[in-house]
Symmetry: C2
């Protein structure tokens, strides 16, 4: 089963996303439209520093509030996801990881968005310097599992990648496996 | 800290999403733009039938492949999320839940999308009838935790809400708490 594209209409080309509307052939022979947000993909990092999770707090305009999230950022054109994960971790938190490994990749909103996040685990961290993008304002902290759970209850941790990372971390604490 | 809107430019109004570009005031006094996908919000249901998870398989055009996901769908205007969860569960799987409760809500892509998913746990299920939207083609099955983990390894389960639901289910099996 698939949905062959009959026509693609480009709607918007932005700095981060682009938007198109595809007219598709349905399995029953009819047609429909699919609104699709194209996105270069992103990386996120579950980084543990002496048993605490590195998180960043920043304003998220689509939600109109501050959010606490694991370090993350979008892929640059042609960039290797693991390199991007190391880069974003260092830029946002000021820590360089001597050890990193891929945990899992996932789609954020398969109904309308192409975005895939590649999640990495980083450890053996060494302090360097924070380097933020010019329109990026965030602060970094290292939180315990109990703090992470409280932040989830309070809605300060609210995004799918960070909630998932906390569940994976809890499993890791219990079983040694993410 | 916030990012006051100086100007909003409407880009697109679709059936599911709309897109706008906001010009915002940054904390340092400068300005930047934020590309924002507006979305009515969605519900998803972790429904257990005799210890198995109800999932649906469907083609996801933004990913150009079949995906296995927990039942989900977007909120209708003014709809109560719990009612929507019961409705989507019944429409997509043909099961009515006698018991449902809110587990957690989360943002899927806080960097560019407004979408929030409200996740519910449903049980005490009773078979009724499947009622799909006219452009919706999916099949339902009930899978074990071992199957769910294999589907994650194979990439058949790949979206954030379903991966998170599987981690929450695993925790529930171990501890009795989601």
């Amino acid at each position: 089963m698939n949905e062959p594209t009959l026509e693609t209409k480009q709607i918007f080309q932005g700095r981060v996303i682009s938007v198109q509307v595809d007219t598709v052939r349905l399995p029953n022979g009819g047609t429909s439209t699919r609104e699709i947000v194209r996105h270069p993909g992103a990386v996120a990092v579950l980084a543990l520093l002496e048993g605490r999770l590195l998180v960043v707090e920043q304003y998220r305009k689509p939600l109109e509030r501050m959010q606490v999230e694991i370090p993350a950022g979008k892929l640059e054109p042609g960039e290797d996801p693991q390199e991007a994960a190391l880069r974003e971790l260092e830029e946002e938190t000021g820590y360089k990881a001597r050890s990193i490994r891929h945990l899992r990749s996932f789609s954020t909103s398969p109904g309308f968005a192409e975005e895939v996040i590649h999640l990495y685990a980083a450890d053996d961290l060494e302090p360097t310097e924070v380097h933020l993008d010019e329109d990026e304002f965030l602060t970094c902290e290292a939180i315990t599992l109990e703090q992470a759970e409280r932040f989830m209850e309070e809605g300060k941790i609210f995004d799918a990648k960070t909630v998932l990372a906390v569940y994976m971390w809890k499993q890791f604490v219990r079983t040694g496996q993410f």
